[in-house]
């Protein structure tokens, strides 16, 4: 996989995160402000990734018109769980972007991995030892 492939994957992940936070944030009663702040952080990350992809001569992947977001239970707890899942999945993509020997890509990855981990911690109420790594450990 090339650095551009991984950048496009991260961008696709940010598109999904933005959509997901739109769904979650509109339904949260007590933490909608945090959801909005996080939504804006993901918009910023999306723009950052898009600029880097363009600078490398490629066209950024567009957002899909729709993403499946499971909010069937409709509880506040499920909404928070969904927000955590958004951040955790993106953390994996940014951690994998670190495998590329590209300073500009790594610069974004290391910054955004921290952002995802901090936001996940805020939702979860506790930190993790290895954000972005646990799901990829068995295959490496």
């Amino acid at each position: 996989m090339s650095v551009l492939d991984r950048l496009q994957l991260a961008l696709a992940g940010e598109h999904a995160a933005i959509y997901g936070y739109g769904v979650v944030g509109g339904r949260l009663t007590s933490q909608s402000g945090r959801a909005l702040t996080n939504l804006n952080a993901h918009r910023s990350a999306r723009d950052q990734l898009s600029r880097l992809i363009v600078s490398k001569g490629a066209e950024p992947v567009p957002a899909d018109p729709f993403y499946a977001v499971d909010i069937s239970a409709g509880t506040q707890k499920q909404l928070v769980t969904t927000a955590i899942a958004i951040e955790d999945r993106l953390s994996v993509l940014y951690a994998e972007l670190m495998l590329e020997n590209d300073a500009s890509a790594r610069g974004i990855a290391v910054e955004q991995l921290q952002g995802c981990a901090v936001r996940a911690t805020q939702w979860r109420g506790r930190a993790q030892a290895f954000p972005g790594l646990s799901q990829v450990a068995p295959t490496n």
């Binding site: 020997n101 610069g107 290391v110 991995l113 930190a127 993790q128 030892a129 790594l133 646990s134 450990a137």
Partner: protein, 143 residues
């Protein structure tokens, strides 16, 4: 200052197993990693290791930082698996959660800086440790 052996730092470890990270720490930074420059990796990992040992000692001295103790121990275990070889010197005490959070924030910045120039799997590990320290800092500040 009194030197602390690596074995001393390691005493009481094994919590990585409880966290489910022991396999990760080995696999994430295996010896067949294609390092760009092994000296860069070694120096960077050792630098992060020393700072992480200081964070562990600081967290252990604070009664309200148990979560941080577990996580910093796991980081140290992973860094040793990644090849950390430095003997650490007894660190200065950390006297409050705010100071611990500041030190964790500095460690996040150090890890991030070293990660950008490291070999791929070391880079990924250090980026994750950076993120973990940034997360811990946000928790300590909130508590």
């Amino acid at each position: 200052m009194r030197p602390i052996s690596r074995r001393g730092v390691l005493s009481g470890l094994g919590l990585g197993v409880a966290l489910g990270v022991s396999g990760l720490s080995v696999s994430a930074c295996s010896s067949n990693d294609n390092a760009l420059d092994p000296r860069v990796d070694e120096a960077g990992v050792n630098q992060v290791f020393v700072a992480e040992a200081a964070l562990l000692a600081g967290a252990q001295s604070l009664s309200k930082a148990r979560e941080a103790v577990v996580i910093h121990q796991a980081h140290i275990e992973a860094l040793l698996a990644a090849g950390a070889t430095t003997e650490v010197v007894e660190p200065a005490p950390i006297t409050s959660l705010t100071k611990l959070a500041n030190a964790q924030r500095k460690q996040a910045a150090l890890c991030a800086r070293v990660a950008v120039g490291a070999s791929p799997r070391i880079a990924r590990l250090l980026a994750s440790i950076a993120a973990s320290n940034a997360s811990l800092a946000s928790v300590e500040v909130a508590s």
